[in-house]
Subunit: 224 residues, 2 copies
């Protein structure tokens, strides 16, 4: 049955999808800048950052209006509060992409330290996590959301590996320090992106099942 | 006039205050571990982390129940959605304190790199920002919240200074690399804490004035 505010929920879903695709593109472009050594991607990331920021405000407005005017209950209420949280995570993912492009542009001043293999892998994983988390939200798929949360360990492991490897580089050859620190920071930013995707996954599970799995409270019963 | 759900709002305020004081203590203890070179603070930070995580779930439950049962409007609605966002920022501040204590414990394996002056200063600033942001929330003081947002630049500057100084150390003497990277990461975590405090400040301004200042949209009129 079509309800009075299905229209608003549809719009909310579309805005979140739009925001997520800008966020994903930003990560891809930031890593492309690093890999292809081309500074011009920076402007593209900054453009998306602005769009993401604008969408966060739009989504927040839409959620507040829907809460105030429709006074939703149960599943709809959880959908709206989840959308607010998810948009805040997407905005922070956009910020991390900006951090990556800043570090990448800085690294272009120096010759390549080493062929980069783990960083683009890590970036691919993080982008997939963001995409899956948002798809899980849009279709209300808690199984897909759970798989996102599991992906986080893989990204953490890759980040630890990158960190240790770069530390070894620096210790063996002091001339690599500035570049190695730049890459370590990029690894950290990707790790943070995966954390935000995990937060989104947790919010989706709560939305679908009314079950909070944050902080491993897997067995909590639904509260509303 | 006392309203039916003033009790819930009072409880919400108390829970946020409790969570914030654990978060602040965690930052202080994590930096104390680094400064006094005593590992035993780690257990105290982990205890607070658990309490913070539990409180985030409690606050989320309380907000969802209040939204569902009381269907608040205008200021009250903004108060509740702000509380949800603020508790999520406080939880992430707790996570950053855990990151700091992990780096600090790791650093205890090595002799002190240099007398630490800027890191405790930065930590003090970040703690003050968290305290002021939460006080601004509790009393609904948008001027105090604005001052928190301004403090962020100072923390960013200190972090840049620490970063550049430690990079110089590493380049001059390779034996300092592991320790310098550890301190750089602690600087980053403190910077993230200040970012979260700034987010809280922005939420408070929105709550009080109905005005979104995120992404510098200072002149937006209230929407609800």
């Amino acid at each position: 049955m079509e309800r009075p505010f299905d229209e608003e929920l549809k719009l909310l879903r579309e805005k979140i999808l739009e925001m997520a695709s800008y966020a994903e593109e930003s990560i891809a472009l930031a890593i492309k800048c690093l890999m292809e050594r081309r500074e011009e991607y920076a402007a593209e990331v900054m453009q998306r950052e602005e769009k993401i920021n604008g969408l966060e405000i739009e989504i927040d407005d839409l959620c507040m209006k829907t809460l105030a005017l429709r006074q939703p209950m149960a599943t709809d209420l959880r959908f709206i509060t989840s959308a607010m949280k998810i948009s805040s995570d997407l905005e922070r993912i956009g910020d991390q992409a900006v951090n990556i492009i800043e570090n990448s542009v800085e690294l272009l001043k120096y010759p390549l330290l080493k062929p980069l293999i783990d960083i683009p892998r890590m970036s691919g994983l993080a982008q997939n996590m963001v995409r899956d988390a948002i798809n899980a939200f849009v279709v209300g798929d808690d199984q897909l959301a759970r798989s996102v949360c599991k992906g986080d360990d893989q990204v953490d492991q890759l980040n630890d590996q990158i960190f240790r490897e770069l530390l070894t580089y620096m210790i063996q050859d002091g001339s690599t320090i500035t570049r190695a620190v730049g890459l370590i920071l990029i690894g950290r930013h990707l790790e943070r992106i995966a954390d935000h995707a995990t937060n989104i996954g947790e919010d989706v599970i709560y939305m679908v099942k009314g079950q909070i799995i944050k902080h491993h409270c897997d067995d909590r019963p639904p509260k509303i």
